[in-house]
């Protein structure tokens, strides 16, 4: 009996899986409407009143609307879309089927995350382009920190999404739980208007949760103001807690 040399799936497998993920996303057009379309509507609705300059040459659109829209795109993709895909994979036995091939579960997860990130990039890019061309948006006063905050927000939202994927027993419940999480984070994080209208304790919590923390930190970076440590701590804690919880409860079958 000959020795079996160990061969781990290489770049060819990663690429093939990612291409397949993207094909699936693009063929499920309904799934694209929400992360791409919804933020666009918010942008169009708010942009007309967003021309007022709030300082540093930045307008309401720049400092409040765009951070909110970007955070929404990220949250929608990571908290609602990705968990529903993973739950569908698990429910239909696709993960089980991949489990008997040399493809590791990590391969699937990474392909999901990358495909999601590309969707986010498309959503953020489209919103930015419209804001730039139609509403004279300005670039963030501090581009580096803005990108850093965006990356941290993406990671935190993925951590939340993984918790949803870990806890949801079926694809439908993944969508339901994901939407609940999305709206809970959004409502306490200022998605439906100022946090001033919220009860004080709720607003304080919302400021630290990934939606509020992400959009505020992004807002600060855009305005050129210092980013609050509380926002960054909130996002970081979400990453850690989400990773630990999802690693403990996630099932491939």
């Amino acid at each position: 009996m000959t020795e079996v040399p160990l061969h781990r799936p290489g770049p060819r497998a990663w690429t093939a899986l990612l291409v397949c993920e993207l094909k699936m996303v693009s063929r499920d057009t309904a799934g694209l409407i929400v992360p791409l379309g919804l933020p666009m509507i918010i942008l169009l609705m708010s942009a007309s009143q967003g021309g007022r300059v709030v300082g540093n040459g930045r307008t309401v659109l720049d400092v409040y609307v765009l951070p909110l829209v970007f955070t929404m795109v990220v949250a929608m993709t990571a908290v609602v879309n990705m968990p529903s895909f993973l739950a569908y994979y698990r429910r239909t036995g696709i993960l089980r089927r991949l489990g008997v091939t040399p493809a590791s579960p990590a391969l699937v997860l990474v392909a999901q995350v990358v495909a999601g990130a590309l969707q986010m990039a498309a959503g953020v890019g489209a919103a930015w382009l419209v804001a730039l061309l139609a509403f004279d948006a300005n670039a963030p006063a501090r581009v580096g920190p803005a990108l850093g905050v965006l990356a941290l927000t993406v990671t935190a939202m993925y951590a939340v999404g993984m918790v949803v994927a870990a806890l949801a027993p079926t694809p439908n419940s993944a969508i339901a739980i994901g939407l609940c999480a999305f709206f809970a984070l959004g409502a306490t994080g200022g998605m439906f208007g100022g946090r001033d209208s919220l009860p004080e304790p709720l607003a304080a919590i919302g400021d630290r949760l990934p939606f509020g923390a992400g959009s505020q930190a992004l807002s600060a970076a855009w305005a050129g103001a210092p980013i609050e440590a509380g926002s960054l701590i909130g996002l970081s804690v979400t990453v850690v807690v989400g990773s630990v919880v999802s690693a403990a409860f996630f099932r491939w079958e």
Partner: protein, 314 residues
């Protein structure tokens, strides 16, 4: 059981698995020779699928060990996955991807995959290459599933319910595919409750009942264990005189059901029975003679019928 000295492709040693209070697999031991087509036959719930899931390393046994090509299926999973192709029962694939896309995707996981076009042709799906998984018929999905089990040029293949849900033409095509695997030296573990399939394809068969191997033999060896070789069924216009057939040397068992009589025995049973009836002046209206089948062996060994039709409806 050192990996270098074994000539067996699959070695299962006293495997035991329970789910809660229910024992699914009990003391299952079997060895599959390299290049052999080995059948695992049994009714639903007999422990067939659990057995192959344990062999594929998908589940952890409570006791016992499995080696495939000398690899411990739990500890050497990464190597195992390269040499073991598995077709799972009712496995679904991403519905929006096409046949060719899926074959290419699964091929990308292996170092030296089969060319997609060739593989797709070998399972008769060339015309459906650009069809999405969700638009395929049940039989086509099944054939794709088998193609995906073969794409990495495995040395051992597990095929779980190979032809369930296929029409007769597709079934014959699948059988031809398995026979080609035999020619290329691939070891095949075939899980089935289709007698015809097992009789035709398998070199040896393990008969599973209530989680145990109740018999392990070649299909013809199992048939011999059915306890009889011939069966003659006939109807008569007038009752058969008492004691007429019991005295015949060829007869082993007689069963009467109204005017229908079934006689089991050996040798030239039909001839012996016919002559005796003619001599006694009994008019025979209908006669049927058959060889014992694996089906009969199954009944003889387990005490109940396999009844594939009933199983399939379930």
């Amino acid at each position: 059981m050192t990996p270098t000295t074994s000539s067996f492709a699959v070695e299962v040693d006293r495997l035991h698995k329970r789910y809660g209070p229910k024992v699914a697999v009990e003391e299952v031991s079997l060895s599959v020779a390299t290049g052999e087509i080995f059948g695992i036959l049994g009714r639903n719930g007999a422990g067939k699928t659990t057995t192959v899931e344990l062999i594929a390393g998908l589940r952890k046994p409570d006791r016992g060990a499995v080696r495939v090509l000398g690899l411990d299926v739990r500890r050497d999973r990464a190597r195992l996955r390269q040499v073991l192709g598995v077709q799972l029962q009712n496995a679904t694939l991403p519905s929006a991807l096409t046949v060719t896309e899926l074959v290419r995707l699964f091929g990308s996981f292996y170092p030296d995959p089969l060319p997609p076009g060739e593989l797709i042709e070998s399972v008769g799906l060339t015309a459906s290459g650009r069809t999405r998984f969700e638009k395929l018929s049940g039989g086509q999905q099944q054939r794709l599933s088998i193609a995906l089990a073969l794409v990495g040029r495995p040395r051992v293949v597990i095929l779980d319910e190979l032809t369930t849900g296929l029409d007769p033409e597709a079934r014959r095509q699948m059988w031809a595919t398995v026979e080609r695997l035999r020619e290329s030296g691939v070891t095949v573990l075939l899980v089935s409750h289709a007698m015809e399939e097992v009789e035709r394809l398998c070199d040896r068969v393990a008969l599973l009942d209530a989680g145990r191997v109740v018999a392990l033999d070649s299909p013809s060896g199992l048939v011999r264990r059915a306890g009889f070789a011939q069966r003659v069924t006939f109807r008569t216009a007038t009752p058969v005189p008492c004691g007429l057939l019991e005295g015949l040397g060829e007869v082993e068992r007689i069963r009467a059901d109204g005017d229908r009589v079934t006689v089991e025995g050996h040798g030239d049973l039909l001839q012996a029975v016919s002559v005796a009836l003619v001599r006694a002046g009994v008019t025979v209206t209908e006669t049927r003679s058959e060889q014992a089948t694996l089906d009969d062996a199954f009944v003889a060994l387990t005490g109940h019928r396999l009844d594939p039709e009933e199983e399939r409806v379930r």
